[in-house]
Structure formats: C-alpha cells, structure tokens
Amino acid sequence: MTAVTRVRIAVAATGIAVVAGVTILASPGRGQPPADKPANIAFDVSGCVACHSGADQPGARRFKTNFKSDEYVRLNESIVWDSKDPHSVAFKVIVPEKNPLAARMQSVLEKGKPADYRIDADVACLTCHSTDLNPTSRQPRKLEEFARQDNLGVGCTGCHGLDARWQAAHWAEPAAAGTAYPAFRMHSPEKKQKEYGLHNLRDPGTKAMLCASCHVGSPAEGRTVTHEMYAAGHPPLPPFELPAFMEHEPRHWGFASELPFLSSLIKTDATKAWELFHARSEAVESSAARNLAVGSIASLKAEMMGLAAEMGKSRGALPDFARFDCYACHHDLVIPSARQEAGYAGAPGRPPLKAWVAVVPGVVAKHAAGLSNASLKAVAAGFDAKWQAVTDAALAQPFGDSTALTAAANDLAKWCDDFLTAIQSDVVYTPAETAKLADALAAVAVDKQTLRDAEAVAHVTWAYATLDFAGKKDAARRDAILALSPLKLPDREKSKGDKPITVGSILDDRMQRFREFLPDVFRGKFVVLSGK
C-alpha cells in the first residue's frame, strides 16, 4: 500500500455513527439482505484497513500466523478496493469540483431547484454514490443518512453490512474447541446475518440483488438512475451480468478454488462447504454458471420490481422513461431504417422495455425446463408466457398500460423468486449442464432478435464468454470473443496505478464502440471464434 493510499484511507475514517430507530419491514424477497436495521452501525473503513491491507502487513500478521486467515480470505481487500475498485470513488465522482462530468450534470440538474442545490447533496444520487447509513429506510431520505466522504464512496460496510457486531466478532470471537480460527467463521450464514448483521455475499442470490439494487436500480430503496439523470449526462448503466462484472471488477475476494481453507473443506465436508459458504468443487458445479443463472434472474427481478414500484407511485403513473430500451427512441432517423425493415413485435412506435433483462433469463429458464425435475420444469416453463405478458402490457400503450404492466411485472418478479428458490435446491450446474447452457447462449447471441439490440448482444456475449471459458486455458480466444461485444467492461484488475478506472474516463470510448457495432460482423466473427 502506498503512503498516499494510507493517508486517503486514514482521512476517510470517522468513527462509528449511531443512528437511532429501527425500522423492520417485510422481506423484499429471496436473495436480498433482511431489512432489519442494526442498532449500532459502523461504516468507516479504517478498522478494515488495519487487517485487510496485505497478509504480510503488521495488522494482518497475527491472523495469518494464528488463524491462517490468508487461506480463508485474501487479506489484501482494502488495497484492492482503494486502488482499483471504483466503488471507493463513487462519492468523489459526483463532486462537481472534482469531476467535469459531475459539473456538467450539476449545471443541468440545478435548474429550477433551490440556489444551494448540489448533486453531491442530493439523496437521489447518494443512495448509490455514497455509503448509505440507513439503507432499510423507506421514509424520505435525509442528507445525514449518508456518509458523503470523498475517500469512502461505497465502502466495505455498504455491501457487507453496517452492523458493528459482525465487524467485531469476525476476528475477535475466540476459537471454538478444536479449531484454529475465530468461531464466527463457521457460524451458519443465517446466524451471521441474524445475530451479527453480516450480509451473506457468498450466496449468489443475496449478492446479485444487492449489486442489482444500484446496477439495475431499486426505486423502493431510492436507487434509480432516472431519465432526468441520463439527460443531464449520467453514463448509461451497462446490462448487469453478475459473473462478468465479478471477473472484470478488481477482485478482493477469492473463488473457492483459490482459497485453501474452502478447497480443503470441500474435500472433507462438501455439504458443510455448500451450506456455510456456497462453495462447491468446480468438478461438481461451475460457480460461474450458478452466478450467471442467479445473477440474470436477479437482474430481471430488480427490473420488474422497479417497474412495478414506479407505476405504484400514483394512479396511472407510468414507468420512468429509463425503464425502456434507450435506443428504441434514441437513434437518428435514417432511410433505409433497419427497424422499419425488420418490423415490430407489437404496434410500431411504442417503446419496448429493455430487451437485455430477459434474454439470458430466457436461456436459463429454458435450460432448467429441460432438466428432469418435474416441479422445476413446471416453474421454468412459465417464463415465456410471463415475459410475453410483460411485453404485451408494455406495448399496449406508449410506455405501457399501467394496470396491466404492474400486474405482469409483479407476476414475473414473483416468478423470479420461485425460480431462484427452485434452482437453489433442484439444479446443479455440472460441467455437462454448463456446457449445454453455454451452447444455448451461443445460439442466442447470434439470433436475429438478439442482434437487433446491442445491449442484449453485450449481455449474452459476456455470459457466454464467462461460462464457456471458465476454468479453461484459452484466455486468448475468450478475450477475442469479449472484444466482439458492443460494450467493453474495463479490466480494472489489470489496471496500473493506484487510482481506480472510473466510468467517466472511458465513457467516450465505450460509447463509440457501442455506436459502431455492426451486427452482421459480430455474427460472422462470433460463430468462428465460438466454434458453435
């Protein structure tokens, strides 16, 4: 860790904040952290930095020596987060004085607002761009509920949990008899959540819903990139594809195969490894496939919940424009028109929803429907009709028939819950099934319908590349396939320097690539490279 980095982190430390009042709400559904608000919250990262700045640093040495903690986690998490992970600068990038893009957005969004309006003091921005100190609140949000620190952004506790109990217990609990590590490690995920407030991010469903709440949006939590924000200059959110994001983000976590403690546990007690850590041998199940399946369904669920929430705001309310396919409207008018020549699914002239949210789930559901489990088949087979109901309702009127779309979106969100529950227990993504899933993704990637939507192509390409090449030593071909995608995720893992790559710094290149996407060229090259 550089001296500069240490200073940045040290400055970020502000101690423990205690927010009074506990709001308990109904669970938002499977896969999301429970909504209980901890009595005592701690959000700064200084405590984390002390031990997670490298296995050989003074703060970590005794854990490495006494507990072999470096075989359970990586112990360099804080360095990775600080130097490479854009979450660490999530707040800084919305400070107008520090980011030209923020200044531009400020200049647009301040019109018609009070004279002291600032985007870095707008709770609509802070819900995702700062560590939220009261994330379970459904009340109008207050400025003091957000950390708003330049060097914190979305910090450790923003994802792992604000609860001070786990933050102490995970290293301080005495070792249980016969073990050489804090007893906390082997508590069940449910206990860790319920009694300590640690979010179970090893569970793909919990993880995906947490990520999706910002990367797809969650109006119920005040987390939405609205059309107004986009119009002011917010970069487009790329399709959220869990394993691809995991691979392209700077990983401060390890896959089970990389962590000796988990690898060993898988061998000695596979059941416990699965129940406590969602860890399986890659020979038994592809973690990428599970992340892909769960992540895609979680994204779809987040999108459906977002739709329903926006329409639920008032009678006859429409979804925010940002829920629809941006490029259905946002294109120059040119003759010949590829859209007019291709025809329309419903009435022409009605903006469709974002296509990408359903393409991979469609593949995942169809694959599951082909498995032998009867109850799983029944659930999985319901996808097509439910998505069709959503799209029909969305096209029944411009921006959707509010009543029908609300019902259809809620119905599909419930289906997502049912399906996530079903694949939790009824599906094992064995290497053979993973290969089938990859083949199906490859076929969909070059499907005529998919090729009309560059975001869908990007999503499927990421999904396919992640899946088909997981564990294979053919990185060059995998990278060549990823290079075909109309959207490129920055490889922050390999980035040099001690500052994360921000979206603003790569935006022009990203959009130019997107603009220049040629479906026919993609199809030709994809078929050759994938060999499908």
Partner: protein, 477 residues
C-alpha cells in the same frame, strides 16, 4: 431565394383516420344565418359528410380548367395533373414504403385502407365517408374537390352570373365551396391533411411504421420549388407571405390542438394510444445519444425539465409575445402538457378551450380582414422579435436547442426575407446560412437522413447572434 430547409418534410403524405369523427356539419343548413357562437369560429373548415364530391374530370374541359397551357388561367387542371404532388398522392400508396408501412402496422393494402385514403385521395364521395365505394376516382389522388369543396352543389353555379357577387361566407355556407382565397380558410383546409384533423391523422404508430412526420408551415409550403401553383395570389408580397405565415401559424396550431382534443377524447374511451408520442418533439428523443453533442453549452431547454420532450414544439415555438396574441388558454395547455402523466380527459378539456380561443382569433381575422401593406419598419420589427425570441434574454444562449424551435424561427425569418425580396439582401445571407446549418445532411452512402444529425448548436447560436447584431447596428431595436 432557395427555401430548401426541411425539404425532407415536404413529401407526399399518407394520412389515416383513427375513428370517424362524429362532429356535426359545421356549416349547418344553408339557409340558417350564422349564430353568435358560429361567429366565434372561422368559416371554411369542412367536416366529414360536407357534401357530394365529384371527379376532377368534371373540371377538365378545355374551355373550363383544362386548357393546354399549364400555369395559365384556364389551365388549372392541366397544371395540377402535371407535377402537382397532390395528383400523385394516391399512386404513392402502391410504393415500397407504403407496402412496408402497412406490413408493420399489420393492416391491409394502403390503397384500400380508408384511413390512408382520407388524405391520399378524395374519399368522401356520396357521403360514404371512410368506406370503399366502387366508382370513386381514387386514382386522381387529391383532386379539385379535396381543396375546393364537394362540388355537386356549386359545380353548376360557379360560372354563372351572380356567383362573383356572393361573399366567401355565402359560397361556403350555401354551396360548401371552400373559400381558398381567404387565408384563414385556406390554411385550415391545408392543415386538415398536413397537420391532421379529427377525422384524419398521422400518429406515432404510423410514423414509426414508415410514414414521414408532418410539419406544416404554410408560407414554406406555398413557396416550395417543386410545387407548381395553379392559381395567382390576390395579394402582392410582402403582405401576402407575411400574413400567410402569421395566419398559417395560428391555423396550424388550432388544428393540431383540435387533433389533440380528438386524440385525448378517444384515449379516454380507450380507443387511441395515450400518451400520443407524435405530440412530442421528434428530435428531442430521436437523436443518437452515444456521442456528446454538448448542445446544452449553447442553449437552454425553454423551461423544460431535463429528459422531457417538449409538447408540439413545432407548432408552439412562435406563439411569442409581441408577434401574436398571448393565447392564455394555449399557455395553460402547454403547462398541462409538460406534466409527466396527463389525464386524457383533462387534456381534452384544456385543448377544447384552447381551440375556442384560437377560433375566436381566426374568426376575428376573417371578419375584420387584415392589413396587407407591410412597411419596412413593420418587417424590421418582425425580424427583431423573431431573432430575439430565438435567444435568451441575455442573448448568450439559444432559448431552446430543440431543432423544431430553431427551424421554425429560421423559417419565419426566411418568410420575411422572401417576402421582402431585394429589400432583405443585406441580411438574407445570414438566414440562408441558418437554414443550411439546420438542414438535414445530404444523402450519403445510400442513406437518406431524416434527422438533423450534425446540427451544430454553436453555429446556430452565432448566426442568430449575428442577425441580432446586424439589426442593432441598424438601430432596429
């Protein structure tokens, strides 16, 4: 002067009818004197079932309107049958664009579709409005009666002694003869198809299927290079064109708001799409957003929230103070239509009120007449108002970067320049540059552009600023 701006918009029009309108015949019984309420409405606006229509062959005798000298008096039919695009309106229903449109709309052939025929032919023979009646002369396209009124009642009268002694109102109310010399009636009549009306419209579904957008501006349409006129204007310029521009603005606005009322009424009954996207500014949404055009640096949004498309920017941009009345009910409607969610019933009521306000103005123009002599000072004031309307009060930015707003201002200045002829030589080059800056790109690589893809807000701002500076230098402020 070349008036090439928006050439892409002046193209054959396919129209449709969503629902047959049930409005009563506005002229009522031929013997009835106009009521007070009628006087608050302009006359000359034909509704459906207005009378019995005849084929153009009734007009084409060589000693009537069909001599062999196109462009001459007596050669009206010949001129029309030559290169008048109205004559070709039916034929375009068979072309590839029309075929694809109807496939996209999942409807039958365009040339059999009553909704298309409403504007692409005279589809009103024998009162069988909207139905396919054997024997109609559909192939004539938009022929004489479409603009001059259903001729059965006046065909045998209009050449007789005494016809010229009738007033325009009498000709219309007694014989359904469309008073085309009256600029109010003419503008309203053109706008029925070129803007839309209760019984005919081009909505966003139809546009998305492939129909060109409609963007009517009366003065430009009158002086388009490829439109051979078969008549001579009574009024000389500059009076004619400037008054036509002014009346045309209000008439088009009246028609588009009446269309909004009709759409909203139908939407209330779940018989039409709502919101109707063609009510919004096309290029607010239809622009490539993958590259930053940075237009906000050079212009504002005319009060709109970010991410919101303006309502009917094309037709409302020039309802500016000093130039035309304030039209308070139109202003109320604009406020309403800026909301995120609009109840169609509320919109319909507000629109009807606005139509009443505009009708009263148009009727007043018909009753009072209008001054036709345009002094240099009056024309200069027009230019000043138009130029300043395009700029913010401090003149450092465009008031609105919406292309429709800017193009309407450019067209208005072009109308003044064209009307003044040589008297505008000093500043006309700036207007021409403005038109060029806003023009759609020329065809390239087999593509025809229907968007102002590369319009540069900075250039447009500088040209308006230069026009303003030139006026100031001449003391016209």
């Amino acid at each position: 002067m070349k008036r090439r701006i928006l050439a892409g918009l002046f193209i054959p029009v396919v129209c449709w009818v969503a629902v047959q309108a049930a409005t009563p015949n506005p002229n009522g019984s031929a013997e009835t004197r106009p009521s007070v309420a009628d006087l608050a409405k302009p006359f000359g606006l034909l509704g459906p079932n207005a009378g019995v229509y005849s084929a153009a062959t009734n007009c084409s005798a060589s000693n009537c309107h069909g001599n062999d000298r196109p462009g001459s008096k007596g050669g009206e039919y010949t001129t029309w049958a030559g290169d008048d695009p109205h004559h070709k309106a039916y034929a375009v229903l068979f072309n590839d664009v029309s075929v694809r449109m109807m496939a996209n709309l999942k409807r039958g052939p365009a040339h059999e579709d009553p909704q298309c025929l409403q504007c692409h032919a005279v589809n009103e023979e024998k009162h069988y409005h909207g139905e396919i009646v054997p024997g109609r002369a559909l192939g004539e396209g938009v022929s004489c009666d479409a603009c001059h009124g259903p001729s059965q009642a006046w065909l045998g009268e209009h050449f007789r002694e005494g016809w010229k002694q009738l007033t325009d109102r009498e000709k219309f109310e007694k014989y359904q003869f469309q008073p085309t010399k009256d600029l109010v009636a003419r503008s309203l009549m053109c706008a029925r198809c070129h803007v839309g009306a209760r019984d005919r419209e081009v909505n966003h579904d139809v546009i998305a299927a492939g129909h060109p957008r409609l963007a009517f501006e009366a003065a430009r349409f009158h002086f388009t290079d490829n439109y051979p006129k078969h008549w001579t204007e009574r009024l000389p310029n500059p009076g004619f064109e400037m008054r036509l521009w002014e009346i045309g603005q209000v008439a088009a606005l009246r028609q588009v708001i009446d269309l909004l009322a009709a759409r909203a009424e139908r939407a209330t009954a779940k018989q039409a799409p709502w919101p109707e996207l063609s009510e919004s500014s096309c290029f607010a949404c239809h622009q490539d957003v993958t590259g930053s055009k940075n237009r906000t640096v050079y212009g504002e949004r005319n009060g709109r929230a970010p991410g919101r498309a303006g309502w009917q920017v094309w037709y409302t941009s020039l309802i500016v103070p000093k130039l035309l009345p304030a039209f308070d009910r139109v202003k109320d409607l604009r406020v309403l239509m800026a909301h995120d969610v609009i109840d169609p019933g509320v919109a319909a009521e507000a629109a009807r009120k606005a139509v009443g306000e505009l009708d009263a103005w148009l009727a007043g123009v018909q009753q009072r007449g209008y001054q036709t002599s345009i002094s240099p000072g009056f024309a200069a004031e027009y230019r000043m108002i138009l130029t300043q309307s395009a700029l913010t009060d401090d003149k450092r930015k465009l008031r609105d970067t919406d292309w429709d707003f800017l193009a309407q201002h450019a067209l208005a200045l072009a109308a003044v320049a064209h009307a003044l002829g040589d008297a505008s030589a000093e500043w006309r080059p700036l207007v021409e540059k403005l038109q060029a800056a806003l023009a759609f790109p020329p065809d390239a690589n087999g593509k025809h552009f229907n968007s102002p893809i590369d319009y540069d807000a900075k250039t447009v701002l500088e040209l308006f600023q230069a026009l303003d500076a030139k006026l100031r230098a001449r003391g016209e402020q």
